[in-house]
Subunit: 142 residues, 2 copies
């Protein structure tokens, strides 16, 4: 089939459930675009989004995550400067000490209000949506 589509990816917002106030993990990217971002990557052919999310979390931050829920899909054509990708964003939880690997040069653990600004891609928007959902229970809506 020659139909050209956006490339589907997953991003995983990982809450560290064994720490006070469940901080989340961001990665500092090893490759362009450089900067801080939510961990994630491409879904492989033959792999569900859920399997991809668990695999990517393990590859980038070295943790076995438990998926909590699908949060939201972000698919605006200009969200990634390299090509059109769509991101299925999951909320997950994990315990223990994350370690940067694969595409991640460094990892950071952040509480609400401490998140760096100017994240890569549309991750500022995703973070804003996530904290609103976590604090007030309000999902992104139209």
């Amino acid at each position: 089939m020659t139909h050209r589509n956006p490339a589907p990816t997953v991003d995983i917002i990982i809450e560290l459930s064994d720490r006070l106030e469940r901080p989340i993990i961001l990665i500092e990217r090893k490759n362009t675009p450089f900067g801080w971002a939510i961990p994630g990557g491409f879904i492989d052919y033959g792999e569900s989004a859920e399997t991809a999310a668990i695999r990517e979390a393990k590859e980038e931050v070295s943790l076995d995550v438990e998926l909590v829920e699908q949060f939201q899909v972000y698919s605006e054509p200009n969200r990634d400067p390299r090509q059109h990708t769509l991101a299925i964003v999951f909320i997950a939880k994990a315990t223990g000490q994350p370690q940067a690997a694969d595409d991640a040069k460094n990892i950071g653990i952040f509480h609400s209000g401490e998140i760096p600004t100017s994240l890569c891609f549309d991750h500022d928007r995703i973070m804003k949506d996530y904290w609103r959902y976590r604090h007030y229970g309000i999902r992104p809506h139209y």
Copy 2:
């Protein structure tokens, strides 16, 4: 980029909001696999999932829909017998008289409890998840 990914699609559960008890629309497919299904189709490169959902609804059932929310993503590798696709399922509303067009040979308007069984793809599961959400407010979860 030569990375091979599942092909992203949208499905749109359209509630007819000007009718008693908001029945939904299914289509009878013109192409294989034959049978009843939720309207939907492939997301084009350069198009958001939301734009694709509004376009596909217009093409298949001839209605201008208003998106209500993203419902859930279904991405099991075996959900479509032809190739690995993932479906971003939307809930939308519309008014007026739907008419079959494009990939739809026929349309049907169904209330809860009247939905045909043995829908194409994994649409039986999606319908089950949808009615549980609509009746009880419970989203699919892990």
